[in-house]
């Protein structure tokens, strides 16, 4: 186990008072830091916070926020709220699948992009909505997808 991950886990656990009840907040911080929950860090966190690994994994698989696999550098989320659905989100999702040559929920082999569905982002005025990293785009249309992705090609 590397000391770097140990230190990180320690720092995050302390930020939340080493209190097992705050485990979800701690996991959020780890997810933000690494974009997924690396096994090593989960084990360190378990030591620091006294929450069993099994429970951390239970929470990680229950909530959509956490991922146990590495994600692409740019996480692309297609909003699947009702207004987005009525205005063609499914077609936008397909267009992204075609462009990136991966299916929903997958990551490109070069770890550049991950494609995911997300719950309503409450930006319904802009439906259909696509989020790339922290940037929100809307209304997203099928013909616009290639242009949108181009912005991230070199990033």
């Amino acid at each position: 186990m590397s000391s770097e991950t140990q230190n990180k886990a320690k720092e995050i656990s302390e930020k939340w008072d080493n209190n097992p009840e705050n485990i979800i907040e701690m996991m959020h911080d780890i997810q933000d830091e690494y974009k997924y929950l690396p096994r090593e860090v989960i084990e360190s966190l378990s030591n620091e916070s006294n929450v069993p690994v099994s429970k951390i994994l239970n929470i990680a698989t229950f909530y959509n926020a956490f991922s146990l696999k590495p994600k692409g550098k740019h996480k692309i989320c297609v909003c699947m709220g009702t207004p987005c659905h009525t205005l063609g989100a499914a077609r936008v999702a397909e267009a992204l699948e075609r462009e990136l040559k991966i299916k929903m929920g997958e990551t490109t082999p070069d770890l550049k992009y991950s494609l995911e569905e997300t719950r309503c982002l409450s930006a319904c005025g802009l439906a259909p909505v696509v989020v790339i990293g922290e940037d929100l785009y809307g209304p997203a249309t099928v013909p616009n997808i290639p242009k949108l992705l181009k912005k991230y090609e070199k990033k």
Binding site: F62, M80, G81, L87, C120, A123, C124, L126
Partner: protein, 610 residues
């Protein structure tokens, strides 16, 4: 402070921010400096203005000139014309659908003038990151009034008398909830703000938090005082609302710094503090027991509510949970009195707290409507007024088909019921529900079977899996709907769907399962013909269910309008389109994957869908 002559109120809600309102603010300030107007003009970032479909939005005060769809590149011209030369710029103003003359003033635009603001009273008026702005608009006066002139019992009595009902969905009378929680013995109690209601298409909670977080905090403090023995509160926010989380954290910190949270508030012996917790992307956590499980660091699984959370909630202590909008209403009721509140809305709540729907409700209007955004209207207004007056009618002149209210727990309300007055009880009567206030407008191009399938897929995904009826039942229902949309449905399927629905409603553990079949039941009730067309004729009248469609090319349009441009051939991912350049193109229906790309890329309308 400087006597500014003009204030530029630019919206910094999620929608407008994604369309660069912060960049616009920077350029505005730069241009104002350039023209040496910094002592006259002030730029203010406000919370969500509500008219999200037209963002980024800016209102120029004191004249209330409303600008929409602004771009960074428009700003130098706008500053020069409006601020330097004093000529408001018509081309950035709102033009009503089907009209040509712009409406310069915000309060003359039907979207705004048709609204009554209580929970959203500060929207567009304050910078949500400054507590002083909130105070200057009368903020924390209700708290001062309560702590100095009212006993906890008097506060409770006032809230009960107001007839306020929970804005999160079920419409449980708030005063009754508070009273029950107060009566249960215990010296450690909690109040919680549920900001995790994730009904897709309902964004009022996000908007209230982003625009006016202190109103929620003030409401919670007052609630804690009235219920007594409450020293701790939690705000549980969806992680999908990063900006809302940020603004809540700022607001709570400011309230602490100013002694409005913490020990001995306003030098009384009343102490109360709030913690903000992030959700983790589970819809079921909008359910009270699941939410409390999540705050305690567990997976968000609901429990059976033989014992209500007001008796045993968070850490097994009596807990009072209300949603964002409910809390935001509290300070206004305290300040203006219950009689003012009961003057708005329907029914009579003098003797029966369930006797009517009082006050206003914030709806988020989205889907196929011209003016998408947040609208706050008095209870009892008709659907027609909301969709056609405030909402400006249906986009692109299409035919109105239905309104979906209440999210995955609600149902569809068909065109024939458009004059229905909107309140808790009327919506329940027609098989839908208020929910947290999402209103998604559907037009003739939306297929009801597809919509029902959409919601079932949602509940199926979000079912926590603890109880069988919800976990397995919704899956089977989804399978049947999927079959119907593929053209493999049978007529008996419709009866089976109803049977399964009733079983799930009866036997699920929590409201997620108990209300999951509503979209199916209401669509079957009001749009049975459309289901039958799918089942008998294997057709989708709205042209949505892909397996039931055929794509072809209209040879005349292709040749005469498009001169056989070949764009469809180039874009077809299945290689199903043939044709020489400058000649008519054809679709090979055997190879066609029905993705619809050709339809999107053809500029000449030559692709026909049957």
């Amino acid at each position: 402070m400087k006597p500014y002559t003009i204030q530029l109120m630019i919206c910094a809600g999620t929608g407008c921010v994604s369309n660069q309102s912060f960049e616009i603010k920077e350029v505005l300030e730069k241009e104002i400096k350039k023209h040496n107007l910094q002592n006259e003009a002030m730029v203010v970032t406000t919370g969500c203005n509500g008219f999200c479909g037209a963002g980024p939005i800016m209102v120029v005060q004191p004249d209330g000139i409303f600008y929409q769809y602004l771009k960074v590149t428009d700003i130098p011209y706008l500053v020069e014309e409006h601020l330097v030369k004093g000529r408001p710029v018509k081309k950035f103003m709102y033009v009503p659908p089907k009209e040509e003359i712009p409406i310069p003033r915000m309060n003359k635009i039907p979207f705004f003038s048709g609204q009554t603001l209580v929970a959203l009273r500060n929207r567009g008026m304050i910078d949500p990151e400054f507590i002083e702005d909130y105070i200057a608009r009368g903020g924390y006066r209700a708290l001062a009034k309560v702590l100095t002139t009212m006993s906890p019992d008097e506060v409770l009595k006032e809230i009960k008398k107001s007839g306020l009902r929970g804005r999160g969905g079920g419409g449980f009378p708030t005063g009754v909830k508070w009273e029950t929680c107060k009566k249960i013995p215990g010296d450690r109690k909690f109040v919680i703000c549920n900001a995790d209601e994730g009904d897709p298409g309902a964004f009022m909670d996000r908007s209230i938090i982003e625009g006016d977080p202190h109103s929620v905090i003030e409401g919670m403090i007052i609630g804690a005082y009235a219920i007594e023995n409450v020293r701790e509160g939690y705000i549980y926010v969806r992680m999908e609302y990063p900006l809302a989380i940020k603004r809540f954290n700022i607001a709570v910190q400011q309230a602490k710094d100013n002694g409005l949270l913490g020990d001995n508030i306003f030098d009384t012996n009343f102490c109360f503090d709030i913690k903000v917790r992030r959700g983790a992307g589970a819809f079921v956590c909008g359910e009270s027991t699941a939410l409390m499980a999540s705050i305690m660091g567990n997976p968000g699984e609901p429990r059976a509510k033989y014992i209500h959370t007001v008796e045993k909630g968070l850490y097994d202590c009596p807990t009072c949970l209300n949603n964002v909008e409910t809390w935001a209403n509290i300070p206004q009721i305290v300040l203006k009195g219950a009689d003012w509140f009961t003057g708005i809305g329907t029914g009579d709540v003098t003797h029966d707290p369930w006797g009517g729907s009082k006050g206003t409700k914030v709806f988020s209007l989205a889907g196929k409507v011209n003016n998408t955004g947040l609208v706050e209207v008095p209870m009892g207004i008709t659907l027609r007024e909301i969709v056609f007056n405030v909402g400006g009618g249906i986009r692109d002149g299409k035919r109105f088909k239905a309104v979906q209210t209440g999210g995955p727990s609600g149902g569809f309300i068909p065109e024939s019921l458009v004059d229905l007055p909107v309140d808790y009880d009327e919506l329940t009567k027609v098989g839908s529900m208020m929910g947290s206030g999402g209103m998604v407008v559907l037009d003739e191009n939306n297929c009801m079977v597809d919509m029902a399938k959409f919601f079932l897929r949602f509940t199926q995904d979000e079912s926590c899996g603890k109880c069988v009826p919800c976990r397995e039942g919704t899956k089977r229902m989804y399978d049947i709907l999927y079959r119907i949309t593929k053209g493999e449905g049978k007529e008996e399927d419709l009866d089976l769907l109803e049977e399964l629905s009733n079983m799930i409603v009866e036997s699920s553990l929590c409201a997620l399962g108990g209300s999951a079949p509503n979209p199916v039941l209401t669509s079957l009730k009001y749009f049975r013909e459309e289901y039958l067309t799918h089942v008998r004729d294997k057709k989708c009248p709205a042209k949505v269910c892909r397996e039931l469609l055929t794509f072809s090319i209209d040879p005349e349009k292709c040749l005469e309008n498009g001169h056989g441009c070949g764009v469809c051939e180039k874009n077809c991912p299945d290689g199903a389109i043939y044709g020489e350049k400058k000649n008519v193109h054809f679709i090979d229906s055997m190879k066609c994957g029905k993705c619809g790309v050709c339809f999107d890329v053809c500029k000449f309308g030559a692709i026909t869908v049957e």
